[in-house]
């Protein structure tokens, strides 16, 4: 009886190891992160994006999250209309794990808390148009050790992402904001 139980446990463990090994063979184990700085133009197939600066608004009390304004310049190369609205969560602010999506885009029928806010039609870029946006993000309380960056959604560079995926890498593009509390 004891031997049978021991044999069963060893067989189960071997099966487990084999299963984990064969499952992980096809998935990437490493990452590649392309890091852009402020004022550095980021060019994709049909648009160009530049983050020209940011400003921290300490609007509320100390315990509440603060608001960070980030200034974007977006340029449309093509002869067609492009809507940023089509890319959900196109730019997300990360502070280590914590993140905030853009706060001042408005869905229909919902009033906005912010002076500058964008409806669906405001997010459309006409042919060859260049537009400036001020997107607002929630920011956590001050912590020096956090890495503050904007993550560009991989929908904007999906081909590149999938290329790297097949090579065994997870590919991300981020804009490093540095110390936002200065």
């Amino acid at each position: 009886m004891k031997k049978i139980i021991k044999f069963l446990i060893v067989a189960l463990l071997l099966g487990f190891i084999f299963r984990v090994y064969s499952l992980n063979k096809t998935y990437p184990k490493d990452e590649k992160i392309k890091e852009y700085q402020l004022n550095e133009p980021i060019t994709y197939k049909n648009i160009q994006i530049k983050v020209s600066g940011f400003k921290l608004n300490d609007l509320r009390g100390k315990d509440d999250p603060r608001i960070l304004d980030v200034y974007f310049d977006v340029k449309n190369f093509t002869d067609k209309e492009i809507s940023l609205y089509d890319v959900p969560n196109s730019f997300v602010l990360y502070q280590n794990f914590s993140n905030s999506v853009i706060q001042n885009t408005i869905e229909e029928g919902i009033p906005s808390d912010y002076k500058i806010s964008y409806k669906k039609e405001d997010m459309v870029l006409k042919a060859k148009e260049e537009k400036k946006f001020t997107f607002k993000y929630m920011v956590e309380d001050y912590d020096m050790n956090r890495k503050n960056f904007l993550y560009i959604n991989n929908n904007l560079y999906k081909d590149q992402y999938m290329d790297y995926f097949d090579k065994g890498y997870l590919f991300y593009e981020i804009i490093n904001l540095g110390d936002i509390y200065e």
Binding site: R19, Y27, N96, K158, Y172
Partner: protein
């Protein structure tokens, strides 16, 4: 962990209750999730390390069951050790072989380890099952879908195995603390089931009392009982009230057993 206690645990029928509860917890964790192959190009990836019962399983039925059943898991196997020995007079034979202080210390330590082991068992089994379904992606700030409130979160992004090792140690130690308190209750009141449910009841009563006090005085007191200290890896506020409560729960059994080992009257 001596062999004599191992045999004692695994010969008892109660060990099957632990294995059955482990199965139940894992069944309900998986029954509420879809386990189709993970998507490749989404921002937050489905990994074994973030989809298991501790992180994304929070709030589902399996996790909810675990938060209550862990008290039974920790204390059902060995925590009636001394009271059973006293009832069957086996303790008289034991005490001819070794000193009473050594007997009590062995009982305490073995009960601690067994309690921790069976508290940890469902979590380890759960992680192993998830590893068989989900790949071990390289997780970073972007694709793990966590937030900064996770304890040891700075380690999560650097070494995920170290993170799970630390979390498992935390659960193991908490399970041991629960089992020790159950051993204390069972020994003091000469019962074999009081400790199994008693620690849970005490923990719930203390949590209710703190919330009643904080609502009466109007000051919000952040407090975590043994329940959330064991299972929760997010939002654990280790403040003065929580640590005081934890110290009381650790030292009541220790003080009791030190005094118990000096008593000479029951042979």
């Amino acid at each position: 962990m001596s062999k004599e206690y191992m045999i004692r645990v695994f010969k008892r029928k109660r060990v099957w209750i632990c294995l059955f509860l482990t199965l139940v917890i894992n069944y309900f964790d998986f029954s509420q999730r879809s386990i189709v192959a993970p998507l490749k190009d989404v921002t937050i990836l489905q990994s074994a390390f973030n989809e298991n019962i501790l992180i994304w399983g929070r709030g589902l039925l399996g996790y909810f069951l675990y938060t209550f059943l862990l008290f039974i898991l920790a204390s059902i196997c060995l925590s009636d050790l001394i009271s059973e020995d006293m009832e069957t007079k086996l303790i008289n034979i034991e005490l001819t072989k070794k000193k009473k202080s050594k007997y009590v210390r062995d009982a305490y330590l073995n009960n601690f380890v067994i309690g921790g082991f069976f508290t940890l068992l469902p979590i380890v089994i759960n992680l192993m099952l998830w590893l068989m379904i989900r790949p071990m992606w390289h997780l970073n700030f972007i694709n793990s879908g966590l937030d900064n409130h996770v304890i040891f979160s700075s380690i999560f992004s650097k070494n995920i195995f170290l993170f799970y090792f630390l979390v498992f140690i935390k659960i193991f130690v908490m399970g041991g603390i629960i089992a020790s308190f159950a051993l204390f209750m069972n020994t003091k009141y000469k019962s074999s089931y009081l400790g199994v449910i008693g620690v849970l009841i005490i923990d719930i009563i203390v949590q209710y009392l703190v919330s009643i006090i904080s609502s009466l005085t109007g000051n919000f007191i952040s407090f975590d009982g043994l329940m959330s200290l064991t299972t929760d890896i997010m939002y654990v506020d280790f403040n003065i009230f929580t640590s005081l409560y934890l110290l009381i729960m650790i030292f009541i059994p220790i003080i009791y057993f030190v005094r118990f080992s000096k008593q000479r009257d029951f042979i």
